[in-house]
């Protein structure tokens, strides 16, 4: 309660929370495309590559205004991205190699510049390192306004180019053949991604920023099979992480905001990976076990069926050892076999005759004839 009260009364906290929320919404939404296009690492490359831009901007302009520093970061991040994409397109070097190379070269250069700036006397350099790990508490009202503008710049094209971005992400080649310039679309989308990363550097920092892009999208993908809902949910997760992270770090002394936000969003992603229905690992495990059981009983039923097909009397009964003879299909122990047969009997699919003899029942016959194996077991999925 006190936390919420603080949120309404404490001006600085309100600014920081608003900033982190805007950041979460923007990077969450645009991050969906990075994830779906299997370019998750582009965020990492852009944010690391932005560092020399920040340093150079400070050296050239001599101002520590966030706008100038972020402009430098944007230019450097954008150039790095274009270099990566063109290396991939024009040379035989693969995308991930190009990415790793450019990321480390730019980041290394950035560290060199930062160190150089620190050695300049009277440069009042303190403050540039905040871009390494982020320092949300330094957010000013004008920074947050900038974040709001950037959120608009990112989200509005996403709305207008909704179908184009979807098409580009799903099937680039097809998009090309029906007359959409995928080069242009790619450039627009990449630029939007770069912008949304750059704007988060002050809050989360170059090292952790890519998780703000990836984690909400990965989490959202777990809960839905619709792109629109995924984007909405991803924004929501990003915003929630921003708010929670800020509030947690403000309530505990000496807790950095950016890293806490990242921890929160990672937790959300982790929980989604485990517990989301259908795609969640735990759900999947339960379903696999259920299928396994179903298949077990179907196999046993089909053994009885094939045996009865060979016999003149359709509902002739067999003892356990006869069923175990079909060893190549079946790995069950006698005990297991008995257990499965009893279960089948409960559902009326087999009949138990005296002296432990088993036969397929009329109902069982019906069930097995419905199963269609000619289509590779398709009926299971229908």
């Amino acid at each position: 309660m006190e936390l919420l009260f603080n949120l309404f009364s404490d001006y600085t906290l309100r600014i920081v929370t608003l900033g982190s929320t805007l950041l979460g919404i923007t990077s969450g939404a645009i991050g969906c495309y990075a994830v779906l296009r299997k370019q998750s690492l582009i965020g990492d490359a852009v944010s690391h590559a932005a560092l020399p831009g920040i340093g150079l901007s400070f050296l050239l302009i001599g101002s520590k205004n966030t706008e100038w520093l972020l402009l430098g970061a944007f230019i450097a991040g954008w150039i790095a991205t274009l270099v990566i994409l063109n290396i991939d397109r024009l040379s035989r070097i693969k995308y991930d190699n190009a990415l790793a190379m450019i990321l480390s070269v730019f980041f290394g250069f950035g560290l060199v510049i930062l160190t150089y700036i620190q050695k300049i006397p009277n440069s009042n350099q303190a403050g540039l390192e905040k871009f390494l790990f982020g320092q949300a508490s330094t957010l000013l009202q004008r920074d947050v306004m900038l974040m709001g503008i950037v959120a608009l710049i990112t989200l509005v094209p996403m709305i207008f180019l909704w179908k184009e971005f979807k098409l580009l992400s799903f099937d680039t080649i097809f998009a090309d053949t029906i007359g959409f310039s995928t080069k242009k679309l790619d450039l627009i989308l990449t630029t939007l991604i770069v912008i949304s990363i750059i704007v988060g550097l002050q809050t989360v920092g170059v090292i952790l920023m890519s998780s703000m892009l990836i984690a909400p999208a990965v989490a959202a993908r777990q809960w839905t099979n619709r792109l629109f809902i995924m984007v909405m949910l991803s924004s929501f997760f990003g915003a929630a992480a921003g708010i929670c992270g800020t509030l947690i770090s403000s309530s505990i002394d000496n807790m950095p905001t950016g890293p806490i936000i990242v921890v929160v969003i990672t937790l959300i992603a982790l929980l989604s990976l485990l517990f989301a229905p259908n795609r969640g690992l735990i759900w999947k495990r339960i379903r696999d076990n259920k299928t396994k059981k179903e298949i077990n009983s179907t196999i046993i039923l089909s053994i009885l069926y094939t045996l009865s097909e060979k016999h003149t009397k359709t509902y002739h009964s067999y003892d356990l050892s006869a069923l175990m003879l079909k060893k190549d299909n079946i790995k069950y122990s006698k005990k297991k076999l008995l257990k499965e047969l009893n279960k089948l009997k409960m559902s009326g699919l087999v009949d138990k005759h005296e002296k432990n003899l088993w036969a397929i029942s009329e109902k069982g016959m019906k069930k097995i004839s419905v199963l269609d194996y000619t289509n590779g077991g398709q009926s299971y999925y229908d």
């Binding site: 179908k163 098409l167 799903f170 097809f174 029906i178 007359g179 099979n225 590779g376 398709q378």
Partner: protein, 249 residues
Amino acid sequence: MDNISVKVHDLTVAYNKKPVLWDIDLEIPSGILMAVVGPNGAGKTTLIKAMLNLIKPLTGRALFWGEPYENNRKRIGYVPQRGSVDWDFPTSVLDVVTMGTYGKLGWFKRPGKKEKERAVEALNKVDMVSYANRQISQLSGGQQQRVFLARALVQDADLYFMDEPFQGVDAKTEKAIVKLLEELKKMGKTVLVVHHDLQTVTEYFDWVTLLNTVLIDYGPIHEVFTEENLKKTYRSTIDSFYKNNGKVI
């Protein structure tokens, strides 16, 4: 000349010095079903991609109804190999098929009721209406192929390129595709299909192109699909001849 849909002239494509297609000259008359046949690595997919400007050829070009590809995009439908996309993409069957209408819609416009109706109609033709709202990752290979075909149908093109639609599909899908090809032919459309199964070429198609880096021959099946031509197409010496840059070993 409207009775010739496509003219390919002097087309050569190479990846890193190795020619994949060598000096292809080809004319595709309107209204035929043409199979493109040849061994693995013969350049069948490359031929389609080069014609559609997806790959830049070293020399040569393809003309559609006497004009370059750019002028006729909307009259040409393309069915890529189904392995070319990620089927775990968060979208529905109907949505993918509706993508076929995007070309005519152009930039910014959203598909509306009319587009959705046309998508449903196309799904009906490939016997997939009941799957319209299904997530695409829940489809079998054959069903995926039929979704791609429906997407191409929605484009309402005059000329179709299909890259291995019969590859690894179930019997039901194979029948559906064959039925569809016949329908397209009846409607006067031209269809070019990359095909692997030599057994069914004469049954499904009326024209054939035999390709193995060079164009062995093309024309109506009864003239071209001969044992001698097939031997030429699948003879490995031809393959190695070009792999060694023309030096006979």
